[in-house]
Every structure is written in structure tokens, then in C-alpha cells.
Amino acid sequence: MKNHGTSLVSNIEPGQEVLSVQNISLSFGGVKALTDISFDLVKGEVRAIIGPNGAGKSSMLNVINGFYHPQEGEVFYCGQKRNAMKPHQIAHQGIARTFQNIALFKGMSTLDNIMTGRFTHMKTNVLQHAFWRGPAEQEEIENRLKVEEIIDFLEIQTIRKTPVGRLPYGLQKRVELGRALAAEPVLLLLDEPMAGMNIEEKEDMSRFILDVQEEFGTTIALIEHDMGVVMDISDRVVVLDYGKKIGDGTPDEVRNNQAVIDAYLGVPHE
């Protein structure tokens, strides 16, 4: 499996489309989770996906990184139609993500968690690893340098060797972001990165997200409930409700969209 993510995306100029989903419908045993959803993500933007609980936001991310296969509709990535792929293949194309409920590797340290994020960039094989000295060790050290950059960037130097299970919630969220960043993704999916955080932590996290966007030019798709944060940091917003898209546009456009207001104020569905 080759890592074509970077090569694919290198021809994409800022402002061009990185990913678009077209007419996606997904259902589980008759229950519709997503109905005919279409939207796109352009390079370098922060795109928020919002909506009430059960709107299908996480399902949407699961479709993008291949965990769910929609019954209908297509995903275009870097201008090409994407065939049905396994999540790990999609990871190799440069899509990384974090999870709503933290999905860190509990038995490993912060460092190891983030090093695992470098998986798609490491090529040495079992035999080389068996004897360690040589390519394997060299590759570990090279990647360790990258990881140390991320550790510095996220300001988590002191917890480098702490098992992640012992970390407080906010820090775990940060480590998870670090793990996703370690993949140097083209597209970063963040599923409620600020859930359960206090204001200070949210501010830190927002800063990291904006820094990522600026420094690495990463395209970011973000699910978030805190409207203030969403309005502050996102470039465009897509709104889902009951598996349907009810709004799409800049934060200001969405804010004034009647359907969105209804959904959030709980106007009953007919």
C-alpha cells in the first residue's frame, strides 16, 4: 500500500476541493442515519459539522473515513472518485481523526500513542525490526523527531512517558489530537474535540486547531456543540438534522438560516 495522500494532494491549490460527498444515504437495518447529504471541503479551511444529538454527524465522519459504507452516494477525494475502502487504507491516503469518546491506546504512554500516529509514515519490516540496529532504529529516531515537534507544539512535554490512562480528560483529548496530527494528515476529522472541557481548556484547544490550520495548511472537519467556538473558528458550517442537511454556508449565513434556528429551538417535525 503506498502513501499517495501527499502526492495526490500536492497538486491541490488552497481553495480547491479536497473532499466532497455527494448524495450520501446511510441506513442501519431500515433506520435512516443519513439521507442524501452533499457537501464539500476545500483545502485549508475549517469546516464545522453541527446539529442536535442524533443528527448523524458522527455517522458522516464514519463514512468519510471508511468505517461505514453508505448505501447510496459517492465520496470524491482529491478530485477522484473513491472506491469502497477499508479504514486503514483511507488512513494511508492522509485522513486522520479523533473520537467523540476518547479512543487512546490505554496501555501505552503519551509518546507511544503519538508515535503510533506515525504508522503510515513508517516502512521498515519485521526482519529489520527483529535486529533493530540499522534501518529500524534509524526510522524510529527520525519519526521520534517529528513526534517531539508535535509534543512541543501541544505543550505536553512533561507527560511524555506517562501512561495515557493516568492523564486527566483534557490532556487525553490533547494527546489524541497529537496522535492524529502525527499522521501529517491532508484532512483532519475532529469529533467533538472540546466536549466536556472547561473554558480555559476550550480556548487552548481552539488555539491548537487554528495553529494546525495555519502552520500545516491542514483541512479540518470539526463536529462541535459549542456554538460560540464553532462560529469563532470555522470558515464554513454544514448543519445536519435527523440525517438531513438543513443548512450550509459561512457562520453568519447559517446563523440566520430559519431551518437551523428551528432545529435548534426544537420546532417539532411534521
Binding site: 473515513n65 468505517f67 488512513a91 496501555g107 503510533t116 535486529f131 526510522e139 524510529e140
Partner: protein, 358 residues
């Protein structure tokens, strides 16, 4: 008081990656190697070799193998005995069909054959998880033992249906067969053990090890990071089976010399190895050794104390041995559920900070 981190600075990532981060640990390790290679061979006798050290070393290899699969990759297997039988029978077939091949390569080849078999039995792990997988691996256990018992080709059509290891030498020293001397057998085994432990450490400290642990800790997250679950699990099965196969080959050729498959490689052996890694510590190289040592040594020790020391009847001693071993297992789990290796680690952490409590 001499056990301190202070002054032991790491100036490169390479140094930071070494196995024994503390100078004192490193020294202790080197000292242990010196004793194992340069002292023990001169004082070892038949009893120590056959009753304690050989079973300890050989079962430690199997424990390492199972720990790679269960401790690192999170796939519980109860087929260890069956896979050890594969190693043993591969060893026998290779020994008898290529009598001139060095026993060292015979053992490694047996491991390779077992790795292939392990790969096949690893396939269901993609769909089956946890205890369901553990019980499913029993299918391998029972089937393999049945197969070796049933197909005469495996035991060269001998009337007895048992396999016995003919004499094979290395550098002119008999390694297998009745004339092999205790120090030679010991050195052969410890060399393989050190080599395999080193490789296990290398495999688990880098990319490969992290992909195993990622599958173990959260397979969905691992997949989304780019880890292919099938390839990773199968690799763990293959590597683990290689170790277990080598262990089985040594168990047969160097330790026992003759084997009846159902009696030696039965399900009790599978469970024994699993106990070793749980008591020693899942996901710990050191734990594999501690666990193997504990379960090999404690019964021998208890027996000697009760029968030779206190003169109790052998049967009462054997019953009490069961009671004590069972009690110890429960006791250790209550004190430290993550095994003796973790207990050891915590003790060292305490010692580092001594005399301050935190």
C-alpha cells in the same frame, strides 16, 4: 540509596530508546548474562538442568511467544500446547529426514513451520474476539493433537506412535539424545532464549510492537490510524507461533528426548503457559520470564521443602502444593492484578524515590 536516576542523563533519542534506561539496571543485566553464560555452565548438574533450568528456559520461550500474541496483541489463545506439538513434530521430521543439518537450524526451521500453521489458525481472529477466540483456539489444540496421534507419517510409522530424538551434535557436542551433557544442553537453550528475548524486545519496542498494542487497546482507533487489523493480527500469530514452535522443538528434542503427544502437549500445557504470562505480566518481556520461573520453580521448591525437608507423605504434599499454588495465584492477583513484573516495576519506582514515599 544507590538506585538513582540522578546524573544518568540521556543526550540522544537513541539513548532514550535503550532497553534498560537506568545504569544500575544495565549493570544488573550484564552481570546476569555473565552469570548465565560463564558461571552456571560450570556448576550445573543433571538435576538442576532437567528439573529446573531447562523447563524454565524452554517454557519461557513459549511464554514470550504467547505474551506477544496475548499480552501485546490482545488475542487470547489456548492453543499453545498444540502449537508446541507442531514445533516438536516438525523438529522430529526434520531431524530424521535431514540428519546432517545442524540442530540449531532444525530448531529454527521447526519454528518457521509452526509460524505457518499459526498463521492459518490465526485467520478466525479477524472476526472472533475475547473469550470466544480463546475457546475457538482450543479447536486448534484438540485438532492438532488428534492429527499427530492419528497420522503415522508424523511419527515415521513407528509401532509405538511416540517420537524420540536421536543424537544430534553442534561443534562436536551432543545437544540432543541421552549423551548430551547438562552444561551443553543448558548453553544451547540459554543462547536461543537470549537471542529470542532480544528479538522480542526489538519487535515490541518499535513500529511493529506499537501496531500490536494499538490493536489490543482499541482496534477501531488502530484501524483508523492505518493499522491493517488482519495483517497485524496474523503477524502476531506468526511471530508468536514461531516462538512457541521453537519452544516445542526444544521441549521435545533437548528437554524430554521422547514425547507422547497427548500426554505432553495436552491442554494442561496450554493453560500452564497462559498462567505464566498472566502471573508474570501481560505485555512484558520480563514478565514472561518471571511467570515461567514462578510456575516451574515454586512447585519444585514446595515439593522439596515438604517431602525432603519436612518428610511429609508425597500425596499430601502434592495436594498442599495445589492449594498453595492456587492460593498464591489468587493472592498475587489481589495484590497486583497486572502481574509480578508490574509488582517489580512498582518496587523499583519506590526504590528510586526512597526514602520519600511519593
Amino acid at each position: 540509596m544507590f538506585y538513582r536516576q540522578a546524573g544518568d542523563f540521556k543526550s540522544s533519542y537513541r539513548e532514550d530508546l535503550q532497553t534498560f534506561a537506568l545504569k544500575q539496571d544495565r549493570w544488573a543485566y550484564y552481570a546476569l548474562l555473565v552469570v548465565a553464560f560463564l558461571v552456571v555452565p560450570f556448576i550445573i548438574n543433571d538435576y538442576w538442568a532437567s528439573a529446573v533450568l531447562l523447563p524454565f528456559l524452554i517454557l519461557a520461550i513459549a511464554a514470550l511467544g504467547l505474551n506477544i500474541l496475548t499480552g501485546y496483541c490482545g488475542q487470547v489463545s489456548l492453543g499453545t500446547g498444540g502449537f508446541m506439538a507442531v514445533g516438536a513434530y516438525a523438529c522430529y521430521k526434520i531431524m530424521t529426514s535431514a540428519p546432517d543439518l545442524s540442530i540449531f537450524f532444525v530448531v529454527l526451521l521447526s519454528g518457521a513451520v509452526t509460524a505457518l500453521v499459526g498463521l492459518i489458525f490465526g485467520i478466525p481472529s479477524l472476526r472472533i474476539k475475547g473469550f470466544y477466540l480463546a475457546v475457538a483456539t482450543l479447536a486448534a489444540q484438540f485438532f492438532l493433537v488428534w492429527l499427530f496421534n492419528k497420522v503415522p507419517w508424523f511419527y515415521n510409522y513407528s509401532a509405538s506412535g511416540q517420537i524420540s530424538a536421536p543424537e544430534r551434535t553442534m561443534f562436536g557436542w551432543a545437544i540432543t539424545g541421552p549423551n548430551a551433557e547438562a552444561p551443553v544442553r543448558y548453553l544451547f537453550c540459554i543462547t536461543i532464549v537470549v537471542l529470542l528475548a532480544w528479538i522480542a524486545r526489538n519487535l515490541t519496542r518499535g513500529r511493529i510492537g506499537r501496531s500490536w498494542m494499538a490493536i489490543r487497546d482499541m482496534d477501531i482507533a488502530a484501524e483508523i490510524i492505518g493499522v491493517d487489523p488482519l495483517k497485524t493480527k496474523l503477524l502476531a500469530f506468526a511471530v508468536s507461533s514461531f516462538y512457541i514452535g521453537v519452544s516445542g522443538a526444544l521441549f521435545f528434542s533437548v528437554y524430554l528426548g521422547a514425547v507422547e503427544v497427548g500426554e505432553v502437549f495436552g491442554i494442561t500445557l496450554s493453560f500452564l503457559i497462559l498462567f505464566m504470562i498472566i502471573i508474570g505480566g501481560l505485555g512484558s518481556i520480563l514478565g514472561s520470564f518471571i511467570g515461567a520461573g514462578f510456575l516451574v520453580l515454586v512447585p519444585v521448591l514446595l515439593k522439596n521443602v515438604m517431602v525432603n525437608g519436612l518428610g511429609w507423605p508425597t500425596d499430601i504434599a502434592a495436594h498442599i502444593e495445589f492449594v498453595i499454588v492456587g492460593g498464591l495465584i489468587m493472592g498475587f492477583l489481589i495484590v497486583e492484578p497486572h502481574g509480578l513484573a508490574q509488582l517489580w516495576r512498582l518496587a523499583k519506582e519506590k526504590l528510586l524515590l526512597w526514602p520519600f514515599p511519593h
